[in-house]
């Protein structure tokens, strides 16, 4: 968690200290489907994805907090995601276009709850590097409001990958 506190402080510092033109603060909200993917099956619980970001020209730093909306089942296995906390750096090479493409790099901590018959309930926590791509397009009538789609591999392991696919809205203050 120290890592996230560090990045969170960094985000706040940059927000309040910057005087550069073309800088802005974003708030985003989206439902996200988390895929817990193994060689022998996958589960796809849903989470609410809330993000706060600071942008300067081509660069953004973003704090994401996600929490459970709906668990998923694979036969008798119930998988839920109580929380995901991430800090992402987003790079957009075409930052002045209405349609932006982002390359995403960051770190995430994902907690996964699992319930299975005849087995003690368990919570597993995964921390690791995250990467992905995102696209967003501003509405013509409300340019501050953008429709965004992100695909991020939150965790990449030997036998287990955790991905997030979110579709939602970003608002630029």
């Amino acid at each position: 968690m120290k890592l996230f506190l560090y990045f969170s402080n960094l985000l706040l510092l940059t927000i309040f200290s910057s005087t550069i033109a073309n800088a802005g603060v974003f708030f985003a909200i989206a439902p996200a489907m988390i895929t817990v993917d193994t060689d022998n099956g996958s589960t796809r619980p849903l989470v609410a994805d809330i993000r706060l970001a600071y942008e300067i020209e081509k660069h953004q730093i973003e704090l994401a907090v996600m929490s459970s909306v709906k668990e998923d089942k694979l036969n008798q296995l119930t998988v839920d995601i109580p929380s995901i906390t991430s800090v992402f750096y987003r790079y957009s090479p075409y930052f002045k276009d209405r349609l932006k493409i982002h390359v995403i790099l960051g770190v995430s901590q994902i907690d996964v709850d699992s319930i299975y018959p005849n087995t003690a309930d368990s919570t597993d926590s995964f921390e690791g590097v995250s990467f992905g791509v995102g696209v967003e397009e501003a509405f013509i009538s409300i340019p501050e409001l953008k429709l965004k789609l992100d695909w991020i591999q939150l965790y990449r392991g030997d036998q287990l990958n955790i991905n997030a696919l979110s579709l939602g809205l970003r608002y630029e203050f």
């Binding site: 550069i20 022998n40 660069h59 960051g106 005849n118 690791g128 990449r156 392991g157």
Partner: protein, 473 residues
Amino acid sequence: MSFKKVLPIILAALFVLLTACSDKENEVNLVNLHVAAQQDIVSINFPVDTIETVLSINSEFDFSLQGLKSQTQDVVTLSKNVQWSLSENASSTIDKNGHFIASANAEIITLSARFGHLVESIEIRVSSAVFDRVVEFSNEAFSIDMCQSQNIKPVGRYVDEDGNEEIRPVDSTIINTIEWLVRNQEDNVESQRAHIETSGNQATVRTLSAGNIVIQAKALSILTGNVETSIDFEQAIGSDLNSIKLCDSSDIDLLNCNLDTTEIEKDKTLSLISVGTYQAIDGSSLNTNISNNSKWGIENTNATIALSGDRQQLNITGDSENTSAIISVACGDIVESIVDNDITKGVVLKSSVTCDNNIDCLEASQQIKISPLAVTSLKVTANGNDLTDGQSLTLSGNPAEVTLIVTAVFSNNSSQVITEDSNLAYSITLGNNTVIVEKAGLDGVYTVNSFGTAEIKLDFSGESFLAVIVTAP
């Protein structure tokens, strides 16, 4: 603070994390749960009726694992994602498929099977006791009716270096070496009522007719170095077969199946099975495919019959078109004589099979018609030019004659020119006598009278073709 100054620090930190952060050890629990959940398995166990816990040195055994499905409560054999392991310091080995090879020395080891998060273990003793002889025909109560197949696990006597005796199912090193002798109980002659064959470390009894038999097992004794013959094992073969019928090989519902297809084209194959209905002990009926233990016959040479490789169906190939052949099947003693080779490979005779006095024997038969090969299409040329059905072809240059060549394409993809076949009907449907006129005595040849369009309809074995020809200067 300038963001641009902070950015390199962020990137450097992320780069370090790229190589440092992951929780691979935490993955095991979630991965294992998904393995079990994928197949809906909530508990596992070794199948008690087939597992061996005492094995001879240097012998082999295929272990298997069963799982209990949560929703259906079915017990299924697990073939994927089972991790087999032996206790540390074991000299014996086991591979990923559960194939166990016992060590050359006696040892006691723990065998474990892991499926997802579920683990089951069993103690295995590798024994140095050596095989002497077969002492029991089967390790469990055995009963069988005629025309059935049933696996057996013979029991052997093993003796160790201290003279201690072990009575246990014979292992893989021995079972394949056993020669089985089967005689009729009443006259002591070699019996055609049953046959015991061994394949893949599994002995199987196949019965062909009812009666009492005596079985002996002959095998080389590792203890004495001599070939030892077991005592006589008396066995009755029951006759609780209520009926026999023929069905299509594709039938799954053996209770209600019938032979729906009774006609085949020449050179084509029809597959059928014999289904026996047995009386179970509880009074219910049991329908089963008894093709491999039935006696098959055919009345003539209009078709050829043979059992499939796995002997689970009879294949009939039509040889002479516009003929028929009666296929007969019987379970029990038949009038026709059979040789021992027929017993081992499956009884298929080149004559009809008929029950002997209808005592403990049931039979069924069906006439199979053999029709000519079906015609799938006609190909036609006019003066050497390919025609398309219903599409006009212009023959320019003021042709004096139009000559059609007709080829039939058959269902086995073969083809044959049928221009002069008596079954091919030609009829001019347009331009008769004005554009073309049929040339007497020559099938498919027409004299051109004038320029214009002529249509000739061709009919052969249910296939039609409309040749549209335009004659032009």
